[in-house]
Amino acid sequence: MTDAPLIVTGRFGQSDAHTLAGYQSTGGYEVLQRALTTMTPEQVSAEVKTSELLGRGGAGFPTGTKWGFCPPGVFPRYLVINGDESEPGTYKDRMLMELDPHQLIEGTMLTAYAVGVAQAFIYVRGEMALAQERLATALNEAYEAGFIGRNVCGTDFSTDITLTWGAGAYIVGEETALIESLEGNRGMPRLKPPYFPAAKGLYMQPTVVNNVETIANLPWIVANGGAAFKAIGAPTSTGMRMFAVSGHVNRPGVYEVPNGTTTFRDLFEKSEYCGGILGGRAVKAFIPGGASAPWFYPEHLDLPLDKPTVDKAGSMLGSGAIVVMDETTDVVKATWRVVRFFARESCGKCTPCREGTNWLEKILKRIIDGHGRPGDLDLLMDLSDNISPGIAWPPRQTTICPLGPSAVSPIASAISHFRDEFEHYIVHGTPGVPEASRG
């Protein structure tokens, strides 16, 4: 299947792809022009629907269906492109913004046309200075070239794209928090319901929020047709998809692979991808879809990167972030580090998340510092249960957003599989793996 076309990363090898000239040299903005002059917005939407493109931001929701949730007749509508990429292990949107900003802009304009938005916003993560520069440059060029703004491509379609960026807050990647941030507020999520962005989003108007990678697929889909996209990958996970594989592999990297058919083992072992586990060691566990996802173990290696399959196996593909831990990994320390992330990034709105994640982090830190207490594991599990009742997957989510329950995933995963390593720490004050220095 390696003959599948690279859909969004095709120009990554082209050194001037980020310039307007470079982009146009490979046919850039032709689709936009064609769509605006020969297709209705409904036709563009229909192609996206046919493609069955699933959102790449984490939840994997069908993009065409999401657009359809905007209540008919309610205007203005807004479009927000989510470039906040902060989920640990995730690295793809930044590449798309730095290396091929015009592709994203063209996708944004196609979406804006299809959905009928009054204005679009590209919200880049604050820490990504180069992506911001590349997008600013690209937007300025595209505005001047008539691809954005007043009378796009000489048609009577007009809409603006405002570039803006955050200032360091993972939670702002969550779509309602993103909207709060875009309103100039603290990035605290809103409760869904009633604040579904499609109905009550930016300024309480219908708002479509899509991930950068999702939207980067648009030019290809509209150019080649939804059916062509759907023909790639698995029926339940269509097209190509970017996965960032990091951790204990020989060639960590970002790979665009056929969605739904490639397996984890393919990714980790094949020579065109990661080329095997570091030092030829065995996999101990891996995170299949970002820090929020429950962990997978060697028995999951042959699962395809297919949304329903992974969901059914009790985790998620999330943001396409795969972190591989080999047999030398100190899983207690790995657990602590992931939990520390959630504790630091909790917005603080919900009591269980604000207080609970911090408490969990303190207990885990105490354990790895050699001050574990006998009841700590039960306490960790009980507090986890109080943050995420039943510790179910997907979480029952009694908090406003999934961040709080996400902190529970690594704890539940690690304690259920590696309880002895935790107990070793508690009894001896030291790691239970021989070569823990690496992790």
């Binding site: 292990g89 604050g126 007009s158 200032a167 507020n185 300024y203 995170i287």
Partner: protein
């Protein structure tokens, strides 16, 4: 130099004009203030409140939510070493330890000469290039101890002045749209809704 300069006020007004509602510009305006002063001063927050017709407390509320806005002065260079999971698995902590030793400070503090602030940060989206760091939000990938020392030496010697501007300066290219090209459809439609 704590209120925005006239040039920055003009820039702020341009930014405000790119949003359907003024307060949406707040985070961008805070970045402009931080670019001007290296951190966010109380006077700057009060000035932004005036520009947006909100209270300074509201500005503080937003500002303090976001990690990148510094309410106290920081070094000319903020060195952010990632220790999150992918980097932890590939030597992130060892890199941080080396940085602490090499700069002679603990993570979370600033060197006496005011040149470097070192931080232990969350994932910076370069996981496949671990261990990695950012200096003033410019990336360095697969950083070894020697790489780190060279980076510090280059920064001290001013050899990276072109590549790494002082803390506060983020993108050096700004979005700028000539009024003739700006559609203005968002603000127009929103003001109709807001007029109730």
């Amino acid at each position: 130099m704590a209120r925005l300069t006239e040039a920055h006020v003009a820039l702020a007004r341009e930014v405000i004009g790119r949003f359907p509602r003024p307060k949406s510009a707040l985070i961008t305006l805070l970045h402009i203030a931080q670019e001007q002063d290296g951190y966010i001063t109380d006077d700057a927050m009060a000035h932004l409140a005036e520009l947006l017709d909100i209270t300074p407390a509201e500005v503080l509320g937003t500002c303090s939510f976001y990690e990148m806005f510094k309410l106290e002065p920081v070094g000319r260079y903020c060195v952010n070493v990632c220790t999150n999971i992918s980097c932890q698995l590939s030597g992130g902590w060892e890199l941080l330890e080396h940085a602490e030793k090499s700069l002679g400070i603990k993570a979370g503090s600033t060197t006496d000469d005011g040149l470097f602030t070192l931080e232990d940060v969350e994932c910076i989206a370069a996981c496949t290039e671990a261990p990695c760091l950012q200096v003033n939000y410019r990336y360095r990938y697969k950083v070894t101890a020697a790489d780190f020392d060279r980076l510090v030496a280059d920064l001290r010697a001013g050899r990276l002045n072109n590549e790494v501007p002082p803390h506060g300066v983020l993108a050096r290219v700004r979005q700028h749209v000539r009024p003739e090209r700006w559609a203005g459809t968002g603000a127009e439609a929103q003001s109709k809704v807001d007029a109730r």
